[in-house]
């Protein structure tokens, strides 16, 4: 890789002022699993690398007023194994457990995955389906952005060059809500998803009608893809095969996949439909069996 200046501040202020001073010439590194590859392949050649590894305070999972607050430096493995998460938002632990391999999960961080914005990642899909918000800070101040407004294009987000993603807010699911992340792996178990679907369904227990739902897909568009049109179809409806088929075809219309080693665009589009059907069905079942 190309030579660079390495900085390792132990406080947020310093990180932000470094970002402020160097902006485009600087890159943030946390777990490094994605960035080091790009550095090594010389696809990016920053003059400054700002490491968060000595930074305290961004690596805890806290439960407060109806939401989980995830520090940007919490690792995937911690997300997978955290008792709080397993207890309060199991689908989140399930999702992180499916990311890559143990070694990667030991290194990769929550903030890193979101900032990297690779559309075939798993966790951003589930986080978006859970209505997560991200906290961004710069020396100028802080702001919160809903995750479904965060991603803008392949590997691109609303993050400004001087901004740092500090934490993620995930509201606890409402009662009678079932959620699932379905990762379609037609080749090998350690592959990126050909299609990933996170579905979250809240039902009206007495009538068993869908009160509200979220449908988000990975790997089929430049960003994680939330399909509100399909969500709208389901609200107020009862689980039925025709309904799921309808939702699936609406989803397919919204996909815009690329052809790669994980499948040609047209195949991914087809699979998006199948996976959405399966995910919704399983989420719905979970909602029915889920005791508040």
């Amino acid at each position: 890789m190309r030579a660079f200046e390495y900085r390792e501040p132990d406080n947020l202020e310093e990180v932000l002022s470094l970002l402020h001073d160097h902006g485009e010439d600087a890159k943030i590194i946390a777990g490094g699993t994605a960035l080091v590859i790009m550095l090594n392949q010389r696809l990016i050649m920053p003059s400054y690398l700002i490491s968060l590894r000595k930074l305290a305070g961004l690596n805890s999972v806290d439960s407060a007023d109806g939401a989980l607050q995830l520090g940007a430096l919490v690792t995937h493995r911690e997300m997978e194994t955290s008792p709080v998460i397993r207890d309060q938002i199991p689908v989140l632990a399930e999702t992180f457990r499916q990311v890559a391999t143990l070694r990667i999960r030991n290194m990769a961080t929550v903030g890193g995955t979101l900032a990297h914005a690779d559309p075939s990642q798993d966790s951003p899909v589930t986080l978006m389906a859970l209505d997560a918000r991200v906290g961004l800070s710069s020396s100028g101040g802080s702001r919160e952005v809903p995750l479904d407004e965060f991603f803008t294009d392949y590997y691109e987000t609303v993050l400004q060059p001087d901004e740092l993603l500090t934490h993620v807010q995930v509201p606890l699911p409402k009662p009678h809500t079932g959620s699932i992340y379905l990762k379609f792996l037609p080749k090998t178990e350690d592959d990126y998803a050909t299609v990933g679907v996170a579905a979250s369904v809240e039902i009206e227990p007495s009538s068993q009608l869908c009160r509200e739902c979220r449908i988000v897909l990975g790997g089929v568009a430049p960003t994680p893809l939330r399909v509100k049109e399909a969500e709208a179809l389901l609200s107020g409806q009862k689980l039925a095969p025709e309904l799921l088929h309808k939702a699936a075809s609406v989803v397919q219309e919204h996909t815009d996949p690329i052809s790669d080693s994980r499948g040609a665009a047209d195949y991914k589009r087809e699979m998006a439909g199948v996976c959405v059907r399966r995910a919704l069905e399983q989420a719905w079942q979970r909602a029915l069996t889920e005791s508040p």
Partner: protein, 740 residues
């Protein structure tokens, strides 16, 4: 029983080529062509030469005007005037560390003039196709006997039995099928590495991930113009071969950089370089024409097998510079009239090389798929149709001997018995498929030197490096068994210097040829030991026996330990030593059969295939090392599964798009199918102690067995590998007229 080098490998002490560290060692990195076919107009290295830590920058003009290759010399060390594939080496840099070398590469300026390129072998054979090697016939070692007038065909080999026209005349039905298989990488985890250090006296020391060090020395001598005696190839562990580690790769460049800089030079390919410019299995198309009688007897088989050689034939080791597996295009079926034509064709892609059972997999996929198709068409049971046509004792196989001890029926029966073949079909979208293959044991030359050491141990010197197959453990076992000694009294060590020529490891050769040579040498060494012992005990040779590791004089009960015998030495106190060479050009009349049954399930909504059960049955002789033997079966099988379902070196206009192991997927521990192995043992193998070969058996029929099982499950027939979920999905869409 564990392998001898086990402890070194689990502790990290085992040294592979990339682990060689020498004082003052520097690093080489190459600049590769971004174009599939182009003239090199100019190369500007000035800026690179000025950069910090850069010690040398070389292009073709700095090197002797020579070509190299495993047999035919058709590949330049650095591109001369012209590049023929994306990834061809154009310039090389030596620097204090690899990062500095990389820094310099980007600032080398190469001006190219693009030329028309051809990527598909069949396109390359057309008259209008651009010629990659107009001077092919003038290349050193180009086999005249196999020249062809077809454009870009550098080798055309024909195998014939009987009279093909007569055969088709006898046929009631004639079937034609075409199949295709892609390029696949060997997938060894150790990328190619080379290190060269030149001694003050000019002796050239070479470390190289190459399974044929003696041959490597010979080839290197030619291309760097240094006599063989001045080159020492130091053997290191090899991080797996699977056929792909037989070339010089970057060793000549390391030499030239070492010569230029006066420093030891190391070059290690990145895995991206491996996938872009290694030597993958040949993309192959197989055309079969089969003549069958009314009774379902196969009387004629014509095959046209086209191998895409890529830009150079340099990675093919066999004399006809083609792919041996093509000769199995009649499969395991006694066919009186056969004509097989194999064409190896230049095209502007990564050069292809050998990969475990080269050609066998491709051809077996075609043959065994067609057997099912023909059986169905004739309304015959696919199992019975096979049985009816199986090879029998006394049958000839193309390019092979007249067979003895044919045990194909027993082998298939064993596989079927261990599977759920005869049970009623369990569920929809589930299916069973089977395939059968055979492999003749490889021939070649093997060498060894056995010495009785003063500590009473036997030193076995071999020029064959351990590529992971357990070869050294096998040699140790054979010598110990022959001399009635405990294993720990036999030490296997590697040395290439003392041997002039050797075929090294490959073609399932080691146990057969290598085993025989050490066994014979051990026998002769025993004679010397007894003679020396008798002399020491003051009696005649016929009065001594070898008992409990000692030379014993039967009458006087007087005896000598091996250590004592060693100290006495032979005539003139010379050490007791036997150096032996064995060169087998003719294979034995015994082949080895493999039969596999695959049960799988297809998800009709996604096309995804799940392997439910795999049975692999093997026709084996005496098994010398059960643990190693089973390891060969299991490893080969999973490679076969990869070939059938997953693996493909994807290329677009000659550009490989699967350029790291994140995109070129290898099966992992969660992808393995439930496996049952059946060994059909009989002590009649041609190798020492009636052993047979196993290394290239289990990989071969898997692809066909999977294809046949998919057909059985969902009624769609695949002519191309791999059978990915995507292909199955679309096939099902068409099949069911779209309502998925």
């Amino acid at each position: 029983m564990g392998r001898i080098e086990g402890p070194a490998k689990v502790t990290g002490e085992a040294k592979y080529t990339a682990d060689v560290l020498l004082p003052g060692m520097i690093w080489g990195k190459v600049l590769r062509s971004p174009l599939p076919h182009a003239k090199i107009v100019s190369i500007d290295t000035q800026e690179a030469e000025q950069m910090p830590g850069i010690l040398a920058v070389l292009t073709a003009k700095d090197l002797p005007d020579l070509l190299t290759g495993r047999l035919v010399y058709d590949m330049p060390v650095l591109a001369i005037d012209r590049v023929r594939f994306i990834g061809e080496k154009v310039a090389v840099v030596a620097a204090e560390d690899p990062d500095m070398a990389e820094d310099a590469l980007a600032s080398i300026d190469v001006e190219y003039e693009e030329m028309p390129a051809v990527f598909d072998a069949h396109e390359a054979m057309k008259s209008e196709a651009p010629l990659l090697h107009p001077d092919y016939r003038s290349y050193a070692h180009a086999p005249q006997k196999f020249f062809s007038d077809i454009p870009n065909v550098h080798s055309h080999v024909t195998w014939e039995l009987g009279d093909i026209d007569k055969g088709f005349a006898l046929a009631k039905r004639v079937f034609e099928h075409t199949f295709n298989t892609p390029a696949v990488h060997q997938g060894y985890i150790e990328p190619h590495a080379s290190v060269v250090a030149i001694d003050p006296d000019g002796r050239v020391n070479v470390w190289i991930s190459n399974k044929m060090p003696v041959r490597a020395r010979e080839l290197l001598a030619d291309v760097i113009e240094i006599p063989e005696e001045r080159i020492v190839v130091h053997l290191s562990q090899i991080g797996a071969d699977f056929g792909g580690k037989g070339s010089l790769m970057d060793a000549p460049l390391c030499y030239h950089l070492a010569k230029r800089t006066g420093r030891p030079v190391k070059m290690v390919m990145t895995y991206t370089e491996e996938l872009m410019a290694g030597n993958p299995r040949h993309p192959t198309s197989i055309f079969l024409r089969t003549g069958v009688t009314e009774e379902g007897q196969i009387v004629a088989r014509q095959a046209k097998v086209v191998f895409n050689s890529g830009a150079y034939a340099a990675f093919k080791p066999v004399p006809f510079v083609n792919i041996p597996g093509a000769k199995d295009a009649a499969g395991v079926y006694g066919t009186p009239h056969i004509r097989i034509d194999a064409y190896s064709v230049y095209a502007n892609c990564v050069p292809s090389g050998h990969f475990r059972a080269p050609g066998d997999l491709q051809v077996n996929f075609a043959v065994e798929s067609s057997m099912d198709m023909i059986a169905e068409d004739l309304g015959l049971d696919r199992l019975e149709f096979r049985k009816q046509n199986f090879l029998k004792d006394g049958d000839w196989v193309p390019g092979g001997p007249q067979l003895e001890e044919v045990r194909v029926a027993e082998t298939l029966a064993a596989a079927v018995k261990a599977s759920s073949w005869n049970q009623p079909k369990s569920q929809p979208n589930r299916g069973l498929g089977l395939a059968v293959s055979h492999r003749l044991i490889g021939t070649g030359e093997a060498n060894t030197q056995l010495t009785l050491k003063e500590d009473g141990t036997i030193q076995v010197l071999t020029p064959v490096p351990e590529v992971g197959t357990g070869a050294h453990t096998i040699l140790q076992q054979i010598v110990a068994e022959t001399l009635f000694l405990p294993l720990d009294q036999v030490r296997v060590e590697t040395a290439s210097e003392i041997f002039k020529t050797d075929s090294g490891s490959g073609a399932s050769r080691v146990t057969y040829v290598g085993g025989q040579v050490v066994q014979q040498a051990a026998g002769e060494l025993m004679k010397l030991i007894l003679a020396a012992g008798a002399k020491g005990l003051g009696c005649a040779e016929n009065e001594v026996v070898f008992e409990g590791g000692r030379v014993v004089h039967s009458e006087s009960e007087g005896s000598l330990s091996l250590a004592e015998v060693a100290k006495l030495g032979g005539d003139g106190k010379s050490a007791l030593r036997v150096k032996k060479s064995l060169n087998l050009s003719e294979g034995p009349p015994i082949t080895t059969f493999t039969a596999q049954v695959v049960e799988l399930e297809v998800d009709p909504e996604t096309g995804q295939i799940r392997l439910l059960d795999v049975v692999t049955a093997h026709d084996v002789g005496t098994i010398i090392n059960p643990l190693g033997h089973q390891g060969q079966i299991e490893g080969g099988l999973l490679q076969g599964v990869g070939f059938g379902l997953i693996e493909e070196l994807r290329m677009e206009d000659g550009q490989v798009s699967t350029l790291n192991l994140g995109d070129y997927k290898l099966p992992n521990i969660r992808d393995i199918p439930p496996l049952t192995t059946v060994l059909v043992e009989e002590e009649l193998g041609p190798a020492p102690f009636h052993g047979k070969a196993i290394g290239e058996s289990s990989i071969t029929p898997t692809g066909a067995a999977i294809a046949n099982a998919v057909y059985d499950a969902v009624g769609v027939r695949f002519h191309d590998l791999p059978i990915t979920a995507e292909k199955v999905y679309w096939a099902l869409q068409q099949h069911s007229g779209g309502e998925g």
